[in-house]
């Protein structure tokens, strides 16, 4: 035998053979690595705490000067004017318009695509269709923004349809954003529908239901919490999307009362305001974070609803 085994046993007592034990090496390296890995995971927690602190601290500075009620319910947003006003309602109306328009596009198209992929398409077809759909999710938002601004708003709405609208509109931004969100809604709801047990479909078919009836009356209700999660996730994407609205929705913060008007969303404001070099600690600088905090809290709420719904259907099957 050419090998000598390293033993983990204790030091040999002189003259006598040492007893057998299972004492191992201390393995300090292993412990250090475990700590490092856990620290890397802790970075994600630090990120969340960092986000909260980064937003809350300047926002507190903001709310020391502007009462929360003036911020939340004021209907005039003019943070840079000499006679400044900080009512966030105009930004919220613009965000609501673009989000609603986006959902009107994304929900039917996303769910239709999901039903096709989950219930109708053969595996081979699905393998082709899904990646194409995912390309939509991979296109940079500035490219969407440019498209919304020049083609959808400029060419289609103004030249072809002759709509009475200016250079920007919440409609153009919302429609393009809706298409951008289609893959999100489609893939999450397709997951939910695919998770519905095959036995339920077979049971339905055995009762004489056709595929459409099975899809709409068996699969759809069974996957409902996942489908709602998909829509909620779509809402979160739409509320948080920045570039499309910054480029195509406009930059005037006014209460939006129709889809052809222009308007500035919460994200649009942050993107535009950051262009000017606000001094750290100035009210303009703090305003960014106050709006950011509101945006974060809205998406946080929406995300948790979505995560909770997804967990529900994961547990169900």
């Amino acid at each position: 035998m050419t090998t000598v085994r390293e033993t983990g046993g204790p030091a040999k007592a002189p003259g006598r053979p040492a007893p057998f034990t299972f004492a191992g090496k201390p393995r300090y390296g292993e412990r250090v690595i475990r700590v490092l890995l856990a620290l890397a995971a802790a970075v994600t927690i630090a990120t969340t705490i960092g986000i909260l602190l980064a937003l809350i601290v300047p926002a507190l500075g903001f709310f020391r000067e502007i009462p929360v009620t003036d911020f939340l319910f004021g209907d005039r947003w003019a943070p840079r004017f000499a006679k400044a006003s900080f009512g966030v309602v105009p930004l919220i109306t613009a965000t609501l318009w673009t989000t609603l328009i986006a959902l009107v596009i994304a929900v039917p198209f996303g769910l239709g695509a999901a039903m096709l992929l989950s219930e109708y398409a053969r595996p081979g077809l699905r393998k082709i269709l899904k990646p194409v759909l995912e390309i939509l999710a991979g296109i940079p938002t500035v490219v969407y923004g440019l498209f919304a601004l020049t083609f959808v708003q400029g060419t289609v709405f103004r030249q072809w349809l002759g709509l009475g609208t200016g250079a920007f509109s919440v409609l153009a931004a919302g429609v393009v954003m809706g298409i951008m969100i289609v893959p999100t809604v489609a893939s999450v709801s397709e997951d939910a529908m695919s998770a519905v047990p095959q036995a339920m479909r077979q049971g339905s078919a055995a009762l004489g239901a056709n595929r459409m009836q099975t899809t709409l009356r068996v699969v759809f209700p069974a996957a409902l919490s996942g489908i709602i999660a998909a829509i909620v996730l779509g809402v979160s994407r739409a509320v948080g999307e920045t570039m499309i609205v910054a480029m195509a929705a406009g930059s005037q913060a006014r209460i939006v009362s129709g889809p052809l008007e222009q308007g500035q969303t919460m994200t649009g404001f942050i993107a535009n305001a950051a262009l000017g070099d606000s001094r750290v600690g100035s009210i303009q600088y703090d305003t960014l974070f106050a709006v950011g905090l509101l945006l974060f809290l809205i998406t946080l709420l929406v995300n948790f609803v979505s995560i909770a719904l997804v967990r529900r259907y994961r547990q169900a099957y």
Partner: protein, 303 residues
């Protein structure tokens, strides 16, 4: 003469080993010598012992109250119907259960007199001493050579010449002549039976004392199965082997001793748990079982 691969720690008779532990102040479990119930005799030269072992997965009790000794340099087969806890028990014997979330072992499992579930025991060290071959051949996605060399490398074995060790391990697993010209090729290119022998070679390369085999032939055809069985008879000279098998004929062919397990339903909850029914020499178990359940199983009336 018992051959031990460990040059530093010679193998002693259990009593001697116990005395030595006492001298060194190492906590030691002294195996009781009395008889253990009517169907379960003590093994005189036990290397591994189980005493009142219970295994839980969360709240579910998979194995209940197992007393079982494994004799040195013998092949012990664990047989019984599905769900009788035999595969669970074999994973207790080298602490593979540690890797399963929620698994918990109660009772005492000793190897050479040392409680292997004691606090100061390093589970890694346990697995180095007590190797395992699995149900499905699981070669690493590496070359044949690297599959063998992996174990010695990770445990920091001082190897003078790795090529020699690889050859020795492959020869020991009766695989050398078949693969000696393609050591650098992927292990995935081997047949199922060859892959399983590679896994055995990989295990003996780290020079364990005990080899646990969890239904090693269940994924193999009859010819490959025969080769593994022949190999086990060879390995028996240097290693203690514990094998879980579904196949009674296999137990009868290869094992020196056989333990029969069954699943009992709890009267209250209806939960099934594995228990040891009878343990003895293979001849005794198969020819004159003392328990009716063993007899029913052996004669094919049950399971």
């Amino acid at each position: 003469m018992i051959k031990d691969t460990d040059t530093d720690v010679p193998v002693l008779k259990p009593e001697e080993e116990a005395r030595l532990h006492e001298q060194h102040g190492v906590p030691v479990h002294v195996a009781p010598t009395q008889k253990r119930g009517k169907n379960n005799d003590r093994v005189t030269d036990a290397i591994l012992t189980c005493e009142d072992v219970n295994v839980f997965y969360g709240d579910f009790r998979a194995v209940t109250g197992v007393d079982l000794d494994f004799a040195r340099n013998q092949i012990t087969a664990l047989i019984g119907p599905s769900g009788c806890g035999k595969s669970t028990l074999i994973r207790v014997l080298n602490r593979m259960n540690d890797l399963i979330d929620g698994a918990r072992v109660e009772g005492k499992v000793t190897f050479r007199g040392v409680d292997m579930y004691a606090k100061n025991v390093d589970a890694i060290e346990v697995r180095r001493r007590i190797g395992m071959v699995f149900q499905k051949p699981n070669p690493f996605p590496k070359s044949i050579y690297d599959n063998i060399a992996y174990g010695p490398r990770v445990i920091g074995m001082k190897v003078a010449n790795m090529d020699d060790l690889v050859e020795e391990a492959l020869t020991g697993a009766a695989l050398w002549t078949e693969v000696k010209d393609k050591l650098k090729q992927s292990a995935f290119g081997l047949s199922g039976g060859q892959q399983q022998r590679l896994c055995i070679a990989r295990t003996i390369a780290v020079k364990p004392d005990v080899i646990l085999m969890d239904e090693p032939c269940s994924a193999l055809d009859p010819i490959a199965t025969t080769r593994i069985e022949d190999l086990m008879a060879e390995l028996r000279r240097n290693y203690t082997i514990v094998i879980v098998t579904h196949n009674m004929q296999q137990a009868a062919r290869v094992a020196d001793r056989t333990a029969f397990f069954t699943a009992l339903a709890d009267e209250g909850t209806g939960d099934r748990t594995g228990v040891l029914v009878e343990y003895g020499t293979t001849t005794q178990i198969f020819e004159s079982p003392r328990d009716q359940r063993t007899e029913d199983y052996i004669s094919g009336r049950f399971g």
